[in-house]
């Protein structure tokens, strides 16, 4: 064989091999595309989880359990099966999540149970509505929330209160408070979302030259500009919890805080919380 014949033969072999590889690749294409699609859904959930952690967990809870009185749970059966019908949404639950996260909520649809942050009850998150997130990021958050559907617990029963509500009378005699229990209540009752993790309301912890909420309460009720009825630090804190508009700290708007803690907290719980707050100097 001369050079030309060798090259023609080798060339033919290469072309056949290339064709064979492409054929084999083509046979596996359906599976590869399906796997890529699954992987894409998985990474959307991963990205959504991280975004949820930085943006949503303070109000809706780290595991989507919600905060009573503030923000509704996103991980229970009711949310996935009935919420869409309740608000009369015509699309899917995933679309509903995307739409709600994008545009936020001007007012709560259930103000008696989940008042949100006031007005707007939930801020808009999409860039197109003045929020910080891109459309694809919101779709990822929705994918993460949708991943709770399979394990969503049934919480149709209202949580039972351990005793009668504390009411809005701030002169009431409170039982002895336990600051350790109060610390736990700060997260389960939704205080931490605005007063500890983020500064939506006045921060509780001391920072820089500003003392903690316990120290501030000691002096606040006797200050000249104070508009409430309290005559002790304890009463001042109780008033701020059950009747937050009696006195609003300078720099913060009225109506930001839910007005119904007088009905959802027991006297013991209020006492524990106040004991915890007084310990923050």
């Amino acid at each position: 064989m001369n050079r030309i014949q060798i090259e023609i033969s080798l060339g033919v072999i290469f072309i056949l091999l290339t064709g064979g590889i492409i054929l084999w690749y083509g046979i596996n294409e359906e599976d590869r595309m399906a796997e890529f699609t699954r992987g894409q859904a998985a990474s959307a959930i991963e990205v959504g989880a991280a975004l949820y952690e930085t943006n949503c967990k303070d109000c809706h809870g780290p595991q989507g359990e919600g905060v009573p009185g503030l923000c509704p749970p996103l991980n229970d059966k009711y949310f996935f099966t009935e919420r869409v019908d309740e608000v009369g949404w015509s699309g899917t639950i995933e679309d509903y999540i995307v739409a709600t996260v994008s545009s936020g909520r001007l007012t709560s649809t259930r103000p008696d149970r989940y008042a949100g942050q006031g007005r707007p009850a939930m801020p808009p998150w999409a860039e197109s509505y003045g929020g910080p997130l891109r459309e694809d990021q919101i779709r990822n958050i929705a994918a993460f929330i949708m991943n709770w559907q399979a394990t969503a617990p049934d919480r149709s029963q209202e949580p039972v209160m351990a005793g009668p509500p504390v009411g809005t009378d701030i002169t009431v005699e409170l039982p002895e408070g336990n600051p350790a229990l109060g610390e736990g209540l700060a997260t389960t009752k939704g205080c931490a979302g605005c007063h500890i993790s983020q500064a939506i309301g006045p921060g509780w912890a001391a920072s820089g030259s500003v003392p903690g909420v316990g120290a501030r309460a000691e002096t606040r009720y006797s200050a000249a500009d104070y508009t409430g009825q309290a005559t002790s630090a304890q009463q001042y804190l109780l008033e701020s919890i059950v009747n937050p508009n009696a006195y609003v700290v300078e720099g913060y708007a009225a109506n930001l805080m839910p007005q119904n803690y007088g009905e959802t907290l027991t006297a013991q719980e209020a006492a524990d919380l106040i004991a915890y707050m007084l310990s923050l100097k």
Partner: protein, 533 residues
């Protein structure tokens, strides 16, 4: 009386008709001639019909009738220029198909790549080939230039061809770089942000140059559209024009140079004569080129399938998050290395401009008439030195060089890089057993004895974490930023959702200088079905 059919006559007529048709298609080669060409036989007719093709067919008209035998020696050219243009045509074809599925807008671009990968049969293969071809084109352009320099083929009548070659090097780099941005992922966005920020360093009009490239102070919709149009219209047109000029000079004017050993000095007359012997384009060179093309196609297809070359795709571009380790495309690492050495204007604009001018001026600066390696030690020395300097500068351009990342950040970033897989994400999902794992003096043999087969991969990652933290905690002769005195480190794995785990890596330590308590932590989420690239 029935006329009998004359089959002999019919056959002759049919062959005649077929022969005519074939001659029309092949611009003059008949059936017998084609057969002779394939067999490597001598021409069957006179005058040689194989030459006629070069006048009647456009595509053969732009190819030479013959090469001189000396210039076809493999070890003289290594077919580098041929493969550079081969890659260019591969890029044109794959690029045209990719354009069907691509939308040049920040809101759509990344999704269109995902759609290409998940919803278009052979979409991933096309993208991989396009990317591999781009790398190949850059590599072969540089090698082709190096070969031309070492064989001294830029001298005398070939000096203008060298100039067009330098222009083509620039066009090739720009083509590759402008394509970099189009997938709109983090890799693309930040590499191009770095690249265009160099334009800013230009004296006098730096700000304007930057604006012109990016379309806005930051890369956005305007910048993406500009890079897209550069990539698919302006630069390919420029490349086609300059490649045509470059090739015309080679094929019509001075040909490929002969090896200096067959031309220069005391070369026996018969060697000279032999070197100048004509090798016809048809059939010898043509078959050779078809062979090279089939070899090239095979290599590329095998590269993206059997060898697993895959075009990278990171997470979607996020202007708010600068990745810890940003780097330019590899062929600009040397520039990044230079930028670490001094002033941005001097190192990023003025020196590179001088380098390009030197490259253009090579044929005019080098007045040495000889082409043999041995007769121009100075030029060859400078050539080799330049390559070494580029390699060293490229190394210095890597993010690992000369940038002081605090130890805690570095350790965690190495285990869970922001982009790509990294050791921890590579651990099989089944091994991620929930728990709190504290770094101590020694690492247990197996972190999760409750699992049937243990978790060897997770244990290996945890061991690496422990060793690096312990090293930074105990070695006192390290630089302050590399130390973690009194370090306490922990890895927490939590079951987060269906098929989703949350992993936290945290390091607490006391600052070397102030003694303050410091902490660095990172959370990642891992899903069972994530794709391991």
């Amino acid at each position: 009386m029935n006329r009998t059919l004359d089959f002999q006559d019919l056959r002759k007529k049919a062959i005649q008709a077929l022969d005519n048709r074939v001659r029309i298609i092949t611009a003059g080669l008949g059936l017998n001639e084609l057969r002779a060409v394939m067999r490597g036989d001598a021409p069957t007719e006179k005058p040689n019909p194989r030459y006629k093709v070069h006048t009647t067919s456009f595509l053969f008209h732009i190819r030479p009738r013959y090469y001189e035998k000396g210039s076809t020696i493999f070890a003289h050219t290594f077919r580098l220029g041929f493969f550079t243009s081969f890659f260019f045509f591969v890029e044109l074809l794959t690029g045209l198909i990719l354009m069907i599925y691509y939308t040049p807008s920040p809101a759509e671009a990344y999704d269109s790549i995902l759609n290409l990968m998940s919803n278009v049969p052979f979409g991933k293969m096309l993208r991989d080939i396009h990317r591999l071809g781009a790398e190949g084109m850059v590599i072969f352009t540089v090698l082709h230039m190096l070969r031309t320099f070492l064989t001294g083929s830029y001298k005398k009548e070939r000096s203008f061809t060298w100039l067009t070659g330098v222009v083509l090097l620039g066009v090739t780099l720009l083509l590759s770089f402008s394509g970099y941005l189009l997938p709109w992922d983090q890799l693309a966005y930040w590499a191009v942000t770095i690249g265009t920020s160099m334009a800013e360093a230009a004296p006098l009009f730096g700000n304007e140059a930057n604006l012109l490239l990016r379309g806005a102070p930051d890369i956005g919709a305007g910048g993406l559209l500009r890079f897209y149009l550069l990539h698919v219209v302006l630069l390919p047109l420029a490349a086609i024009l300059v490649i045509s000029i470059h090739y015309y000079k080679v094929s019509r004017e001075h040909g490929i140079s002969l090896p200096a050993s067959m031309e220069e000095g005391d070369v026996p007359a018969e060697v000279k004569k032999n070197a100048r012997q004509r090798i016809d384009f048809i059939p010898d060179l043509f078959t050779h080129e078809v062979f090279l093309v089939s070899l090239g196609l095979f290599a590329m297809v095998a590269g993206v399938t059997l060898l697993g070359y895959s075009a990278p795709l990171e997470t979607i571009a996020n202007p708010q998050v600068t990745p810890l380790d940003t780097k330019a495309p590899w062929y600009f690492w040397w520039l990044q290395g230079m930028l670490k050495l001094g002033d941005k204007s001097l190192m990023g604009i003025i020196l590179p401009t001088i380098l390009v001018l030197l490259l253009v001026g090579v044929p005019y600066i080098d007045r040495n008439p000889y082409r043999s390696l041995y007769k121009r030690p100075f030029a060859v020395g400078i050539g080799i030195l330049s390559v070494l300097v580029l390699v060293v500068l490229s190394y210095m351009g890597l993010p690992q060089y000369g940038i002081q990342t605090p130890a805690a950040t570095r350790i965690i970033q190495d285990l869970v890089p922001e982009e790509g897989v990294g050791p921890l994400r590579g651990v099989p999902y089944e091994q991620l057993s929930a728990g709190i794992y504290e770094v101590g003096e020694s690492v247990p043999r197996d972190l999760c004895p409750s699992l049937d087969f243990g978790c060897p991969d997770l244990t290996a990652v945890f061991r690496e974490f422990s060793e690096r933290v312990n090293f930074a905690a105990t070695q006192e002769d390290l630089q302050p930023f590399e130390r973690l005195p009194d370090a306490q480190a922990v890895m927490v794995i939590e079951d987060w959702q269906t098929d989703l785990k949350k992993i936290t890596l945290r390091i607490n330590w006391n600052d070397v200088i102030t003694g303050d308590a410091k902490s660095y932590e990172k959370h990642i989420f891992l899903h069972r079905e994530r794709v391991h690239e």
